[in-house]
């Protein structure tokens, strides 16, 4: 490869934006995600009714011009509830993923850098959490902590962090053997500097990609927990809970389950597309194809 002329190189942000626009899947995911985000942020402005207002006169109305998505069995406006539900879901996804990344990344990073027996046992410890079937661990943890949205979030984080630890570990093992880490050690740099300046930036790409993929999965998992009755509880406005409470009415009144279900689908789909795109964008050599 020959060197390129830097004189007229566009700024980092301009190149990044250019890459975003050039990547079609990412672009579609990005647009969908922005829609969900707008729904969440501007829910109070966009909502046509109070999402908690019960009105038995209007219960189980089909979608119409007055109730865009219809109403549920308590007569609450589904369109308004779904807007507010976006807040809950995005918050759960974000908090759980951030917490899991914050716990998992340092563990994997340190285990790979330290290596030897210490690294081995650190990883075996995290493996314990992977040994449970995916939803069983959160169920057990919520059983211990009690039911509720925040308890569910903590439970989901605990069951998710080992995956980040593992992903980062496999990277950090490789990176810790790289010549630039060797030369940093030979230069007498401290462990902290090597870990954060040399290892972390070269290890986190797969974790970030995984996080953006998991974002969707987490929303799904949180919805599942609510659905089986150990996550969000009334009066929380949560899509999974909305599907759950409407499940007996589903056959006669399709919109009560379909509308929140569709909201989950769109959000998860958007986040998955976004996740793929993030991986391409994080590659310093990639041209974001």
């Amino acid at each position: 490869m020959t060197a390129v002329d830097t004189s007229n190189e566009p700024s980092r942000w301009a190149t990044l934006l250019g890459r975003v626009a050039g990547n079609k899947t990412f672009f579609v995911g990005f647009v969908l995600f922005i829609i969900v985000l707008i729904a969440a942020i501007f829910a109070p402005l966009l909502a046509t009714y109070d999402p908690l207002a019960i009105n038995f006169d209007d219960k189980l109305l089909p979608p119409s011009l007055t109730h865009f998505f219809g109403t549920d069995e308590l007569g609450r406006d589904l369109y308004s509830r779904i807007l507010y539900g976006a807040r809950t879901s995005l918050m759960i996804g974000l908090m759980v993923t951030i917490l899991a990344v914050l716990i998992g990344t340092p563990i994997g990073l340190i285990a790979g850098y330290a290596g030897g027996r210490f690294g081995f046992w650190l990883m075996r410890f995290t493996d314990v959490f992977i040994a449970f079937p995916p939803l069983l661990l959160p169920i057990a943890i919520t059983a211990a902590l009690g039911q509720g949205l925040y308890e569910a979030m903590i439970a989901l984080s605990i069951s998710a962090f080992p995956w980040y630890a593992r992903i980062v570990y496999s990277e950090s093992q490789r990176v810790s053997q790289s010549l630039y880490v060797k030369s940093a050690k030979a230069s007498g740099f401290g462990h902290g500097r090597i870990l954060f300046k040399h290892m972390l930036p070269n290890c986190w790409t797969p974790a970030i990609t995984q996080a953006s993929m998991d974002f969707g999965y987490t929303i799904l998992a949180a919805a599942s927990l609510s659905f089986i009755g150990i996550g969000a509880k009334e009066p929380d406005i949560e899509w999974g809970l909305m599907v759950a409470t409407s499940r007996t009415k589903f056959l006669d009144f399709w919109w009560v389950a379909m509308m929140p279900g569709f909201a989950i689908l769109i959000t998860v789909f958007a986040l998955n597309l976004l996740g793929d795109g993030v991986r391409d964008l994080l590659d310093p050599k990639g041209d974001g194809k």
């Binding site: 060197a3 630039y180 060797k182 030979a186 230069s187 007498g188 500097r193 300046k197 070269n202 310093p284």
Partner: protein
Amino acid sequence: MEQAVLEVSDLCKFFPTPAGLVHAVDHVSFTIDQGHSVAVVGESGCGKTTLALSLLQLIKATSGHVIFEGLDTATATRAELLELRQKIGVVFQDPHSSLNPRMRVGDSVGEALKVHRGMKGSELRAKVGQLLEDVGMPVSAAERFPHQFSGGQRQRIAIARALALDPHLIVLDEPTSALDVSVQAQVLNLLADLKRDKGISYLFISHSLATVEYLADTLLVMYLGRVVESGSADEIFANPKHPYTQMLVGSVPQLDPDMRSKRTMPKGEIPSPINRPTGCPFSSRCSQVMDKCRDQVPELLQVEGANVQTACFLNQ
């Protein structure tokens, strides 16, 4: 008096493996004088890279001493070791993985100055620019990332980084093996200039005799962890004494097609370091092998009338 920059005595590094003990570095001793360069040559598996890593304190030696400017690394305190690290630079073989891909070149080159000398701002930028110019790179390179450069340019950057703290010794681990010939020549010339201008000592590790010849004052030929021949590079190149060195020298392709027919084919392959032959390690491939070579290990001894030591019964 001229002080030795580095004294290595009886250095050993053994690796336990399930199949047995690997004698990667086996009682190696040598000295590097101020402004001199020592080249270590040998085929893959001869222990030359392990030697470099133990000198850099990146792996712990099994036994023996590494004395850097009078300081024994085995008994040095942490602070002393840290200071020592600043006096040794290193350039690795693969220029594609020796620079952090996510750090700008200027940050990589200046990192040690920032950490160990507390330099920052314009002073740091000026020094980094100076270092880049010293190795023939434009100052603007500092703002760019490693993947924007060719292999030869990256190796220059790696050399600039190694020079940052004005080291007394630079360990060069196959610095030109991954480069094209024309680029290799540029890098070797650069190293020679730096040695002349700054009086830096080199430990040059290579599998290629032809590339070390220009830079080496002293040559160390290793075979399966042992030094089989060492001494004045000029004398060894002119008249190799150990049969292995002869084989190595004889295997280097010459630019003259007429030399082809005169070549003797090297015999066999380097044995696995786990099953090292008893006696002289080279006995399994030596064309002049004697009975005692198979059960006695020849010591590294001075050859009479030459500035060379060999570990071979033929020369004793």
